[in-house]
């Protein structure tokens, strides 16, 4: 459903109040807490979501992750877009 959705390079993604990333040992790692929902967050999702503070732009987040993971920028761009667009559609991320 989120295929083909583009995020503006200057958007500043932010987790709204009511959506929280937290590390919980008893539940086996990082989870994203949302209204009546709990999502397990893998290592890549955690790195992306930690950067969604409303300060960094989408473009800056992609650049930062490209440098951190030494991966092709296109692939990082696609991964970040997929995760963030999916969350925005569920109203769990502000763009």
């Amino acid at each position: 459903m989120t295929e083909g959705i583009a995020i503006a390079p200057d958007a500043r993604p932010r987790l709204p109040r009511g959506v929280r990333l937290t590390n919980n040992e008893a539940q086996g790692g990082w989870v994203l807490l949302a209204p009546e929902r709990i999502f397990k967050a893998d290592a890549i999702a955690v790195e992306i979501l930690k950067r969604c503070t409303g300060e960094a732009t989408f473009e800056a987040i992609v650049d930062d992750l490209t440098a951190a993971f030494k991966a092709p920028r296109e692939r990082i761009h696609a991964d970040v877009t997929k995760l963030l667009a999916g969350l925005a559609e569920k109203r769990l991320l502000e763009l």
């Binding site: 459903m1 709204p16 109040r17 009511g18 959506v19 929280r20 937290t22 919980n24 008893a26 539940q27 989870v31 807490l33 209204p35 009546e36 709990i38 925005a88 559609e89 569920k90 109203r91």
Partner: protein, 360 residues
């Protein structure tokens, strides 16, 4: 401390029934027929301890509920202690009994999310169903204040025969209130609601039309609002997975501190519930007889035991199995494979346009 079963899951959610007191008289109230009184309610400090123990046990989310949680004068302190324990704190309210001032205090205390129920799309019908004049307007005001403060809002639409034709209008109302999420909650027949089953039961055609309408609404409002809905029990082919499996994902603490595997568990006779006044939540989760009673799937009869959905719906709801068949270990008769499914089908056809028995 006694030994623990290593295969135990950690619970994810805790429903904190802070009180059974409520100003509304909703005919579909699922709380038990015998309500717990104010005198027996846990105090602020005990709730704080429960939340700390819950977090240690792995619980991530707490739902402050009731009754109407707003009837507790220490609601803000209670919410604050849940947040301090690190729990994602959700308030489930009728919207009546919480002032906008209290809402602001809750926001300051760190509340994460608010869920407000509505009874219908217009004030007259809504107040009639709730049995409380002026409820609609107060729900509106509280929901608006929550959004103004920047809290995410879920609107819970309680659906039954009288309002099932107005789901579209109720969704419009939730959109106007700037909710981010809607829960379409078909009435479930537990506790007081059983008294009103014939008056609340929708016709099959209504349920089928509503399912089509909800799909259309989802498409139309995609990206603006999330709509969660399930098929109502008596019209479903498969049962709901009772609380995600008995003693597997969640626990429920009553106003007086009894810990139940699910909201309606006390309707099943012979279960022994432990109280947070006498035991730690850890011990209750791992060792109390009520939690052990239907944990896992080994006790299930056929057709559940060899069913490919056994680990999906866990044979359905134990309370419903007991309420309808008299045997809490039976296959939930909502399942079309249950030998008792004919009973559910017959009950779903019984409708009586009679006045509601309000909860007073």
């Amino acid at each position: 401390m006694a030994s623990r079963d290593q295969s135990l899951h950690s619970p994810l959610g805790l429903l904190a029934e802070l009180t059974h007191r409520c100003p509304l008289g909703c005919p579909y109230c699922s709380n038990p027929l015998a309500l717990e009184g104010r005198d027996g309610e846990l105090d602020t400090a005990t709730w704080a301890r429960v939340f700390t123990e819950a977090a240690a046990l792995g619980v991530l989310q707490v739902h402050l509920s009731g009754g109407e949680p707003g009837t507790r004068r220490d609601l803000v302190e209670i919410a604050s202690s849940a947040r301090e324990a690190g729990l994602y704190t959700n308030l489930i309210t009728s919207g009546v009994g919480i002032t906008t001032r209290t809402m602001r205090d809750l926001w300051e205390a760190g509340l994460d999310h608010v869920q407000v129920s509505i009874q219908d799309s217009d004030a007259v019908s809504s107040d009639h169903i709730a049995g409380y004049k002026g409820a609609f307007q107060r729900k509106h005001a509280l929901a608006a204040e929550a959004v103004r403060l920047g809290l995410m809002l879920t609107i819970n639409l309680v659906v039954h025969r009288a309002n099932i034709g107005r789901i579209g209008a109720m969704v419009d109302l939730a959109l106007a209130l700037k909710a981010s999420r809607i829960e379409i909650a078909h009435v479930q027949y537990y506790g007081w609601a059983l008294k009103n089953r014939d008056a609340l039961m929708p016709a099959r055609e209504q349920v089928e039309r509503a399912a089509v309408e909800v799909e259309e609404l989802r498409r139309r409002h995609q990206g603006r609002i999330v709509i969660d809905a399930v098929v109502p029990d008596y019209h479903a082919r498969f049962p709901k997975p009772c609380v995600g499996g008995w003693g597997r994902r969640s626990l429920n603490v009553t106003p007086s501190g009894k810990v139940l595997p699910c909201h309606a568990a006390e309707t099943i006779p012979g279960l022994e519930f432990w109280n947070v006044r006498d035991h730690s939540l850890q011990d209750i989760w791992a060792l109390s007889p009520a939690f052990g009673a239907f944990r896992g799937t080994d006790y299930l009869p056929e057709p559940c035991l060899s069913c490919e959905r056994r680990e999906i719906d866990f044979g359905g709801c134990r309370c419903q199995a007991f309420a309808l068949t008299g045997d809490a270990r039976a296959t939930d008769p909502v399942c079309h494979k249950s030998p008792d499914h004919g009973l559910v089908a017959r009950l779903a056809e019984i409708h009586a346009d009679e006045p509601y028995h309000y909860r007073r």
